[in-house]
């Protein structure tokens, strides 16, 4: 009997024996080729190739580093696409108004408010087993790093295996990287100082008559500069607003491959000259804008749902 015939017979025998338990047991599956979807931020998509489905994506960074903003952008993108998302909030820190301002369709978002990390891990397990979610985010940003460090690696491994082969994106937020090799994409976030609008007292008072009485009782700030115009600048009154902040994302680990076969994150980014240092580090920056009109506007929610 020729070898090819024998191997075909053997293959058939193996497949028959494993039928119903293992799908295509002898077929090679390239795990680096995964479907990726938009993270909601163009710069991040360009850097990473998007968020991989069926994988664990870990975002970590310090406080105010922009990790939550990245999460909201991803949630907004997925809910806009009609998918159902879940947010396991480790310390009940999600602000629905901020989510709405970021474009999250709150109706498509399942928010699980946890008190501690045990609840968060159990809830995530239940959600993954439930299936059908486009994105499941486990937010452990406010948990102390030493507490999250005590979570055994097998937990993250189980999560990774549970989402493997499903269209679910598992998102993990924390202060440090904990999932290690279980994560297919690891991003480290950092932020620059915020951009604050500054204006003169005269301009500020011209903005709105309502603020004039406030300005009237405020003492003018003492400045050491000789410039008169600078003396008139106010940094704490109606004319001073936190406008935006720039965050940076660095690819720490990525198993995804780009079209040219290179690992994601190793490409040179087209960022301006002063950010040459950052491009060598496989990083990308994006601007986060504050939404001053988002508060107290529930009608936006209806429009969003409609």
């Amino acid at each position: 009997m020729p070898i090819s015939t024998r191997s075909a017979a053997l293959r058939l025998q193996v497949e028959t024996a494993l039928a119903g338990r293992v799908l295509s047991p002898l077929e090679f599956r390239d795990r680096t080729l995964v479907e990726a979807v938009s993270s909601g931020i163009g710069e991040i998509d360009e850097l990473t190739g998007g968020l991989p489905r069926g994988c664990l994506t870990e975002i970590f960074g310090g406080a105010c580093s922009g990790r939550s903003s990245l999460l909201l952008a991803a949630l907004a993108a997925r809910t806009r696409a009609g998918e159902v998302c879940a947010l396991v909030d480790g310390r009940d820190a999600f602000d629905p108004a901020a989510g709405l301002a970021a474009g999250v369709n709150l109706r498509q978002l399942l928010w699980v408010r946890c008190k501690n990390i045990e609840q968060a891990l159990r809830a995530t397990d239940l959600l993954i087993q439930g299936g059908g979610f486009g994105l499941i985010a486990l937010d452990l940003s406010d948990e102390a790093a030493r507490v999250v460090r005590q979570v055994q690696l097998s937990v993250w491994f189980r999560f990774r295996r549970a989402v493997e082969g499903t269209p679910t994106i598992l998102f993990l937020l924390g202060q440090e990287s904990h999932a290690k090799t279980c994560a297919s994409l690891v991003l480290r976030m950092e932020s620059e100082v915020g951009v604050w609008t500054e204006t003169t007292r005269e301009k500020a008072s011209a903005l709105d008559p309502v603020v004039q009485p406030i300005l009237a009782v405020r003492p003018s700030p003492k400045t050491t500069s000789a410039d008169n115009e600078a003396q008139e600048k106010i940094s704490h009154a109606a004319g001073c607003l936190l406008e935006s902040a720039k965050s940076w994302a660095e690819v720490v680990r990525s198993r995804m491959q780009s079209a040219d076969g290179q690992p994601r994150g190793s490409r040179v980014m087209s960022i301006d000259a002063r950010e040459m240092d950052r491009k060598r580090m496989n990083a990308a920056g994006f601007t986060l804008k504050t939404q001053w009109n988002y508060l107290h506007k529930p009608e936006n929610q209806n429009a969003n749902e409609g």
Partner: protein, 637 residues
């Protein structure tokens, strides 16, 4: 089978416009009591009669029902007609729970202290049990099971019987508690031949835990009598009523007791003998009642169908002999009731949109020792535990409903032992939905409901759901509402786009690279902080035991409201950018200095955007005017 073939097999020919199906439940009271046990304990494949069994038609002789109070039990000689009975006896012997396999006598518990037998099955009667026998006498029979009659169970069994009938025809008459009659004329095109309709009725009744006799005839009263008299399925062809009914004993006609005695004295035992009596002489001796009885015995009497109004109340109730305290045994009871409920809903092609459970609770034990008047009065008042479960979509999967109920009860268990259980469902049309190939993945609704119930068990009922902003100016006001996502619909153009995208990296490159919204993380509850102000603005903040210098501040933004209520608020909000003093520098800068290129600092670096040398943060704090204190509401992240 083609329509022509169906018409050919129709008993009354294509032109027949009347056909009635009678469904009779022999030993109704006994069956009602054991129905739940029988239904719950038997495997599904044993509950259903074998669909391949053949029925007794007008050509083949079906045996008279041994339960119709005759002394002689006939045995069928034909193998095909005994299939149903064989199946039934198999189920009995397999589980030892059906009423026919063991002698069971019911006593009327309501007539204390004179308990007497009010019903008994054939096995008990064969053993010598008579109706009216006292409980003490009945207890002397070895192997006899004495059970209390349950009006609740009878009510549920009647409802189940009606549902079986309505599953086939809306024209239903509830002739007696144990007998219903359906108008099945014109259903052949929809459900097949009369034989198939009868089989369907028997199978659905078996699903509901009832063993029934089904008879179909052109004459309503003939069908009624045949159902009472013949076990299994009986089909009587037109103009053969007299011959078929004739072999039955007179007792199936339910004559008055005095008339039955007279006929017995005359030696009249069967319907055929009664039908042969001369009408005039019978009228002279027994009056018009006797003539009417003779007409029924000939299968010639007729009357109009009194159609019952269809109701949509689905409830199953069970009184427990011993109070149940734990969830595990309660689950068996609930599972049993839900099985029956779902079988009834399925028979009516409906599903449950809302599930309601009510437990009658036993009074607490400590109350029994209390002799105070008000407590003694309250002793007899049973506690009620009630829960309503709104389902996201109509469901009729008993196992799933049981899981949901268990999870709900685990969260809020009843405070006392349970002595009576009621499960009721609000009926609705079942969900008809088909997933699309090009639609985004969506959680299975039934599975999602189960997941939500489990999540509620982990984090609490109010901590799972979708947030909804409140129409108020109070900062951070929202409420949790039930999570009910909308399934996305895709139109033609989107479908084409999806097809094109398949197999590739689905990055939405058309998304503009615009700035994203900055997130805000909330401290719940707000953190009390200490603030040192300078020139009317915060200059130094002590947050979570750390000191931070304020670099930028914006405010105050005053908001207040609801001054007429106790929960009024009045706040001066500030947005701060702070720099923590005394940090270890491990998270300093946009990137750690070790990773930044190790070249020396140059003039060019000075022109770079400033990155912090210390840990920093952007917070929103506020001065609570009502409480006169500083708090941190959250941080920008």
């Amino acid at each position: 089978m083609g329509r022509r073939a169906i018409a050919a097999r129709n008993l009354f020919g294509a032109s027949a416009d009347m056909a009635f199906a009678a469904i009779y439940v022999p030993e109704f009271m006994v069956q009602a009591v054991v129905r739940a046990e029988w239904h719950a304990e038997l495997p599904a494949k044993l509950r259903r009669p074998d669909p391949t069994y053949r029925v007794a038609s007008s050509v083949t002789k079906s045996r008279p029902d041994p339960t119709c109070h005759t002394t002689k039990i006939c045995h069928s000689e034909r193998s095909e007609e005994s299939a149903f009975f064989r199946r039934t006896s198999e189920t009995d012997s397999a589980a030892h729970v059906a009423s026919r396999g063991r002698p069971i006598a019911l006593i009327d518990a309501g007539a204390a202290p004179l308990f007497s037998v009010v019903a008994a099955n054939a096995a008990a009667r064969n053993a010598g049990i008579c109706l009216g026998m006292t409980k003490a006498n009945a207890a002397q029979f070895a192997g006899l099971e004495i059970r209390a009659r349950s009006t609740v169970a009878e009510k549920a069994a009647r409802a189940a019987l009606r549902d079986v009938g309505w599953s086939v025809s809306p024209r239903l008459e509830e002739t007696a508690p144990d007998l219903i009659v359906l108008d099945v004329a014109g259903l052949s095109a929809l459900l097949g031949t009369h034989e198939q309709i009868a089989e369907l009725l028997a199978v659905r009744a078996a699903d509901c835990g009832l063993r029934v006799n089904v008879a179909i005839a052109e004459n309503l009263l003939a069908a009624e009598v045949a159902a009472r008299g013949f076990a299994g399925i009986t089909l009587i062809a037109a103009r053969e009523e007299a011959a078929r009914i004739g072999e039955l004993p007179i007792s199936v006609l339910s004559p008055p007791e005095e008339m039955a005695e007279t006929l017995a004295l005359w030696g009249i035992k069967t319907c055929a003998q009664l039908a042969r009596l001369p009408v005039l002489q019978l009228s002279e001796r027994l009056g018009q009642a006797g003539v009417r009885l003779r007409t029924r015995a000939r299968g010639a009497a007729s009357r109009a169908l009194v159609v019952a109004e269809a109701d949509l109340t689905f409830a199953e109730e069970l009184e427990l002999d011993d109070a149940v305290e734990e969830l595990e045994p309660l689950s068996f009871v609930l599972g049993r009731l839900l099985d029956q409920l779902c079988a009834r809903l399925t028979a009516r092609a409906l599903a449950a949109s809302l599930l309601r459970v009510r437990f009658d609770l036993q009074p607490a034990f400590e109350n029994a020792l209390d002799v105070r008047t008000e407590v003694v009065r309250a002793k007899n008042v049973q506690g009620i535990y009630e829960r309503t479960m709104q389902l996201p979509v109509p469901m009729r999967d008993a196992k799933l409903l049981l899981k949901l109920l268990r999870l709900r009860l685990q969260g809020n268990p009843p405070g006392s032992p349970i002595i009576k259980v009621l499960v009721a469902a609000e009926a609705a049309r079942p969900r008809v939905a088909q997933g699309g190939l090009f639609l985004p993945s969506f959680p299975d609704v039934e599975k999602l409901e189960l997941t939500l119930a489990r999540l509620a068990g982990v984090v609490g009922e109010g901590n799972v759901g979708s947030p909804e902003l409140m129409d108020t100016h109070r900062p951070g006001e929202f409420r949790m509402k039930r999570f009910s996502p909308l399934r996305a619909e895709v139109n033609g153009s989107d479908r084409k786009k999806s097809v094109r995208k398949r197999g590739s990296e689905n990055i939405d490159k058309h998304l503009p690279k615009q700035s994203s919204a900055m997130s805000f993380r909330v401290f719940r509850p707000p953190l009390p902080i200490h603030v040192n102000s300078r020139e009317g603005r915060p200059a130094e903040v002590f947050l979570q035991g750390r000191r931070a210098e304020v670099r930028k501040a914006s405010g105050p933004w005053r908001t207040s409201g609801e001054w007429w209520r106790e929960e009024q608020w009045s706040e001066d909000q500030w947005d701060l950018e702070v720099c923590f003093v005394g940090g270890n520098g491990s998270r300093t800068g946009a990137f750690p200095s070790a990773k930044v290129s190790p070249r020396k600092s140059t003039q060019k670096d000075a022109a770079k955007p400033e990155t912090f040398a210390k840990e920093f943060g952007r917070y929103r704090i506020y001065f609570d005017v009502v409480r006169q204190g500083w708090f941190a509401r959250g941080m920008y992240d």
